[in-house]
Symmetry: D2
Subunit: 147 residues, 4 copies
């Protein structure tokens, strides 16, 4: 999966915008570093801050997205305290799903990258769904602009 | 407990310093707001950022603190996304423990207050302990300065 | 607060039922024990398993409860791996709120106790509310039976 | 990655042993189901219960493992309350790393599968390391026995 991304997710410059996420004491584990599970939570902040406004504006009450596959590459140990920045970028749009690439940075250093397959989801039917055309158009626009 | 605090923990001005904590999507629960458990994690960031440097500098390898009692008052619903600020202040110093007061703010609005009894803990003996005099002196100095 | 509870929350026999909660590796912190925040999550399992069926059956779509105050007393270190049991008991019923007492046990040993003030909450109005009479009656019945 | 696993991780029978993990109320998100991040925590319970005793017995004080890559396939929505079972199986042993396969089950239904590349890690040097021969021998034995 990650090999297919046409972007270098380890570079800050790959991402049009990055959002800060504060590391928490409780993110640490007995090895004295940030646990792998916390990294998954950081990635979700980046994805939802990119897609949330879009879904809220154009998706209607019953459209959201769910994660179908998540691949995380852990590149460096991360330690408390500190603030990371999470870059998120749309990689590919399918009929009912999209691929989203992420990079987590501590200053210039990339501590993790990830690829996520997010599926459009009908909250009332509880199944995957084809998003409305307005959402597709907006996502395609974001992709052209590198967001 | 909280009634005993001689400070108004609901006022930002009670705290000499506040640290930002980013709300995460996964902090939310099915009620569509930040779950009460996440608030406990925010508070711990404030406490450890206040005490961590002190313990690291003056405490030696085997001294840390553990929570003996935590009381949280939840004052308002908190929603994702956003960044809160956590104020933390030493309230009282005992022989083996101290009382720490906290306030969590979204802008000027106080969303939660808390009191924590933290006990000095010997990591090798796994018991409560009397901290070295240098730690006491520094904590008393911080308390006089309102930190 | 905890001093007001007319029950000894440190005794398993205080609780009519206890629910198991698995400790997770990621519940641990750098001190090599379960972090205080995870204990708050364990307590919530006990409270929601007691009240969830009641709210679902008698509460209607817009009634739930939120935490107004939570006091946790941490009595012993807890270590991974293992399974704790969480006892939960209704202590007092007010007009818009109730007091819930909890004990967390590892075998016979009590590792934490807690008191929680839970407020009935109208999900559509996002305010505290008086619960329907059927809920009050059922909670009073549970209290008489020691649940 | 997952395609390379020579086992069907969606079958309970693939796993010699499964460990229970209790779902928590706070694992849920606003979509009313278990959040993707919680699934990563469940998987870690399975991996650490398989490898922990081995590392403790044969690894010495400075050997542990860290996650280098984690791929999770989310197959079904999971809801609170309930208890899942996590199956974990060694898939491949390299010089400094191993591949671990997982399946999460609710009864017979598989809700997620995962592959994890875990790297042997020297806690004092904070780098990847070659594990002692006794660890390799034991892991190879476990793999022959299907654990």
């Amino acid at each position: 999966m990650p090999e297919q991304t046409p972007f270098d997710l380890r570079q800050r410059s790959t991402f049009a915008s990055l959002v800060p996420v504060t590391i928490r004491y409780s993110d640490q584990d007995p090895l004295g570093h940030v646990n792998n599970v916390a990294i998954a939570a950081y990635l979700e902040v980046g994805r939802t801050e990119l897609l949330g406004p879009l879904l809220e504006k154009l998706g209607g009450a019953s459209l959201d997205t769910v994660v179908a596959r998540l691949t995380i590459d852990y590149l460096r140990e991360l330690r408390y305290p500190g603030t990371v920045e999470v870059g998120t970028r749309l990689v590919r749009l399918g009929t009912k799903s999209m691929v989203i690439g992420s990079g987590i940075f501590l200053g210039e250093a990339c501590v993790a990258t990830a690829e996520c397959i997010s599926v459009f989801f009908d909250l009332s039917k509880r199944t995957s769904t084809v998003p409305p055309a307005a959402i597709r158009t907006e996502i395609e626009r974001l992709m052209r602009e590198g967001a």
